[in-house]
Subunit: 437 residues, 2 copies
Amino acid sequence: MIPTVDETHDPARTCWVPGANGHSDFPIQNLPLGIFSTAGTDPHGGIAIGDHVLDLCALADAGLLNGPGLDAAKAAAAPTLNALLALGCGPRAALRTQVSALLSDAVNQPVVSPLLRRISDCTMHVPTRIGDYTDFYVGIHHATNVGKVFRPDNPLLPNYKYVPIGYHGRASSVRPSGAQVVRPAAQIKSTDMPAPVLAPTRRLDYELELGVWIGSGNTLGTPIPIDRAAEHIAGLSLLNDWSARDVQAWEYQPLGPFLAKNFLTTISPWIVTAEALAPFRTRQSSRPDGDPSPLPYLFDPADQERGALSLTLEVALASARMKADGVPPFRLSRGPASSMYWTIAQMVAHHTVGGCDLNPGDLLGTGTISAATPDGFGSLLELTRNGTLPIELPNGEQRTFLEDGDTLSLSGRLEADGFVAIGFGSCVGTVVPARAV
Amino acid sequence: MIPTVDETHDPARTCWVPGANGHSDFPIQNLPLGIFSTAGTDPHGGIAIGDHVLDLCALADAGLLNGPGLDAAKAAAAPTLNALLALGCGPRAALRTQVSALLSDAVNQPVVSPLLRRISDCTMHVPTRIGDYTDFYVGIHHATNVGKVFRPDNPLLPNYKYVPIGYHGRASSVRPSGAQVVRPAAQIKSTDMPAPVLAPTRRLDYELELGVWIGSGNTLGTPIPIDRAAEHIAGLSLLNDWSARDVQAWEYQPLGPFLAKNFLTTISPWIVTAEALAPFRTRQSSRPDGDPSPLPYLFDPADQERGALSLTLEVALASARMKADGVPPFRLSRGPASSMYWTIAQMVAHHTVGGCDLNPGDLLGTGTISAATPDGFGSLLELTRNGTLPIELPNGEQRTFLEDGDTLSLSGRLEADGFVAIGFGSCVGTVVPARAV
């Protein structure tokens, strides 16, 4: 069952941590989970609150938690959140409830304050040991836009409205926000070249996605039915599936993208939990009347009713010159995440229907989420119509694809009437020149 | 550098372990690494010798090893071989040298005998925690044969002779020989159906591949040059990439196979090390004159000279009725592994050229290895010409694709003049009926 709203979402609940109230991403209604380290400490679990991180190891040691919430905090002593996520929704929700109480009642300030670290003193890590990373393709406008580039006559393939298309990605190269984006070199062959060359990509792009973190897993051979899928979804991050379009065009047939994508995937390092997302659940509305109904294994009335998210996504770019000149980042796109043709629960049900096992800490990407209109397209490939329509930056520079020195930022904001909005934190990367080839 | 022949390959070297001399797969010249458990012990490292397993934990404790060989054996105390493989070729080769000496000189029998376990008392496990699994497509006859099925007008795509085509597979569902093959259910839609249905696959197939185990890895952003690739290759196993052809046909565009492959991959659980393979290295000969030369990052004269293997692969099938009636398994195919268009070193160099990191214990599949002639085709899709040419079994049964109760076995034999042949052990799976959908 998708988590429901409770007292932890109460908009009247405030927090005694300085600066946490009014914080756009991490107010007390969010409480995302992450793995952090500070000078002299190994990576371990924490919860973001405003501009601070609550140290879960220290909290577990302080005797302020009990029951399943304490179990969850103890599991967060590890260098990854896999053990905590494996506990499933019960302990995770109990930890949230207890931490929310501790951070809202000022009586706890004297004992809990020493357990807070300034977020600026923390290094964030990929929150789990990702066993497998799967990338889906649920943004129907993206699929259509990209299809027009690679297959002009056949943009949306016949399987798209039946199959939540996905493919396996590379887990090893997932990195937290801030990791350098080294321009990759690989084989490139444009149609006017007689043979390919090894060269740095000339068409470096980003893809605006959500990352889905798996909580409890399933046994090989035992599918997760769609009406139980929510129990296996721990939470979300932002995800940038950096893509080398010229590499992709040459290599992707017949088995899909490989080097075009596996050089780096950046995530925002905080897991915004399924519990935190409860107020922002909304009706799945991306399937127009007349489209085929989902097959029964992909259909759950509760998921149709609450499986989508009231979420606005935004992408901004700052060139090296803009940064040097103090010009603020330029917004490339802004749009709702409502064009996901398949819900996250449908992704999970489909992934496992043939028996494939998901494990705690696994990562799913949604695929690029583009809005219906160009101001909400989620990649440069789409925004510049495959590089034919350059974007003008505020200082007069033009962009078709990313250039060395560009800093690209994803952000997201969950909003719903009567609730305090929350966000994901940073998902940022700066492009650096290719290695010599 | 590809390991060279030394005294451990001496055909005159015999072993005091009963039954080890003349053993077709695991003579003293092989000494493959694996992870095993016995009643009452947790999984840990061992070396196969004849019908026994030498317990590496017990061996390390016995004070019979020293230096890097001891380091390697100590690393094998873990439930996976990742730590041992991370040590790279030096300690692995030292362990081989020392174990070969211990098992060949009968003076050691009194102290080493107690460290041997009967292989029949051992449960074998996947030898590593596989961080990522990548499947390549280097069998050119297979690529051509399959291309004819899925793209009759365009069997071998223009990139094939330039790019070692690969895609990311599912690491979580890799299992050791003997794991049940539950017939997967997923979406199927033949051309005569108006819409897909969720149904058990009707076209369950196997794929005959080699699995490549990565030893030491590389850092994200630092490619492995082809002339250093051999240092990163720990060894090989057999690999069966079970495939649901009807699922594949419906789902695979545009991003490649997904549920058609991720329900199970079976490996032979012993890693036949790069050191053991030294005598069986041979010239890479699958690239006909007139084909384009490999790009420089894929070309190494030493790899061209010794990058291929003198290896014969074989597949056998026993139906439920054959097994009940005592009919021996029927050979489906037998052929040389010489049609790999790309060497393993080329696979590694290509995988990392854009900066992607490989990690110790990662698994690469070669893709299906089909010989040039039908008696050596590596899948039923090819052997039965996409199900149109049934195979007759010795008892009169027919097969187009696998049926419930079928047991499918891969085997491989490395042979070279003047050396003792070695093999991989079992890579077996029996098909069981689909779950109710």
